[in-house]
Amino acid sequence: MKKGFMLLAMILTVVTAAAAFAAPPANTLAAIKKKGVLVAGVKDSLPPFGYVDEKTRTIVGYDIDFVRAIAKRLGVRVELKAVTSASRMPQLEEGNIDIIAATMTNTPERAKQIAFSDTYFRTGQAFITRKGMVHSLKDLAGKRIGTAKGSTSEQNVKAALPTATILSFDDYPQALLALEQGKVQAVTTDEAILAGILAKAPNRNQFEIPPFKISDEPYGLGMRKNDKQLVAFVNKTLLAMEKSGEAARIFDKWFGPRTPFGLHRTFKIVAGK
């Protein structure tokens, strides 16, 4: 038994030492330029933020366009790595990716662990329900509500509806399927994502997004806390994109009136927010 503990202690020491030895580079911006590649963690099945295009068979979307714009200004190519809501922060801290562009809400809690860029997309958390069933938040009290694991939506809805039963699914299509089958009475997450899910749902005319929100969701690009130079560069780029109208063009390309989402841009990229 004692021997076992010794062995375990030895293994742990080696692992920790090795982990410390292989810590992410101190200056990621310089490292990215040297490698000539920006590795970005993105969603690969969340239209229109990040998904696989049927024709080109590559990941495209709103988040990806921002990453590409940043990489273009850096003069490097982009490598996209698929991440989930649960895996993106560990991936960043492990150094497997340089930047997160995966519909991530900037929260004070997350900002303790990683650095966020200025807000490049703003939405709020809403619900999808059957038509005419829900008129205000009160109607959802005590109901079963579906959302995705590891998202801010999960925490927000718990706070806003303490009496509701929250079911967490692996991704939003699963949650929608549960709604169709009556296992949950509502699906909740950011309105922009809900609009995307609803636009694609087979029997979308049975469902609606009631006009109330329970939170404000500013999306930021995530970077490691000590990567001050990279954060500064990304923010500079975002502001330049806002000024040149490129940011607005990207929004219209994916969410604008000519898309199934038909959303209007109600936010602007502002320094320090």
């Binding site: 692992v15 090795a18 982990a19 292989a22 992410p24 590795v39 690969d44 099945s45 969340l46 239209p47 998904y51 696989v52 049927e54 080109t56 068979r57 590559t58 790595k81 698929a82 991440v83 989930t84 895996s87 560990p90 492990e94 150094g95 497997n96 991704d171 939003y172 299509p173 929608l176 399927l177 899910i197 694609k200 749902a201 087979p202």
Partner: protein
């Protein structure tokens, strides 16, 4: 049922983003399965022989490692490797290699016990007869015990490899775009056709596994024919 979605995405299901991007889909599933299969055969044989060693200081640590790996779910092994390997080999350790290593470790542990049973299933008299002709212990193993044992092990090997093919689907956890992951991506984009997509995926897995079992049945027949000569 509308199988148009399969036709529209057929190339993506088969080869992923290749050649413009990374290999994926069925091609990647086969690559993962074949590579891990060959590696785990080699390591399984090695571990199996070590675990039947007459020297306790060899067999005991080997059994410890084997039991450790066998006592952990495969999903855990993959996840562990995913965070452990970069710690040892630096960043940017490819996910595909991570999955191959994890699958190899896991399958080799099971294979070793098939080898062990196969070796122990050969009557002791054979070993004694071999030794009495002046052969060394390793020679007896190599020339007498293993050739007979391996033939008996084939059905169990095939079993293990068939589950290995199916186990590759767990690679999705680290974002490797093998068949299951690719199917999820398409399903999340199209939303309306989960039944069609996953029926098709199940069929592909079945065809992969069935062709492998057929191949090995043919191999088995050939080997037993040799035995009778």
């Amino acid at each position: 049922m509308d199988f148009q979605v399969i036709a529209d995405n057929f190339t993506y299901f088969m080869i992923g983003s290749w050649p413009k991007g990374d290999l994926g889909g069925v091609a990647l599933t086969i690559y993962l399965a074949v590579t891990s299969c060959l590696l785990s055969f080699i390591f399984g044989l090695l571990l199996g022989l070590l675990s039947v060693s007459r020297h306790r200081f060899i067999s005991l640590p080997t059994m410890l490692v084997i039991n450790l790996v066998r006592g952990v779910p495969l999903l855990m092994v993959i996840f562990w490797m995913y965070f452990l390997l970069p710690a040892f080999f630096g960043h940017g350790f490819p996910e595909i290699r991570t999955v191959i290593i994890a699958l190899t470790c896991f399958t080799a542990a099971y294979m070793s016990q098939i080898v062990r049973a196969g070796v122990e299933g050969i009557p002791r008299g054979q070993l004694e007869a071999g030794t009495s002709t002046g052969l060394k212990h390793w020679q007896v193993m190599l020339y007498i015990v293993l050739p007979q044992g391996l033939r008996n092990m084939i059905p169990s090997f095939v079993n293990q490899f068939v589950s290995l093919i199916k186990d590759t689907s767990l690679a999705f956890i680290v974002g490797v775009s093998e068949l299951t992951h690719v199917a999820t991506q398409v399903n999340n984009r199209t939303m309306a056709y989960p039944t069609e997509i996953f029926l098709f995926i199940a069929l592909v897995y079945f065809l992969l596994c069935y062709s492998f079992t057929s191949l090995s049945r043919w191999l088995e027949k050939r080997l037993s024919w040799r035995k009778s000569v």
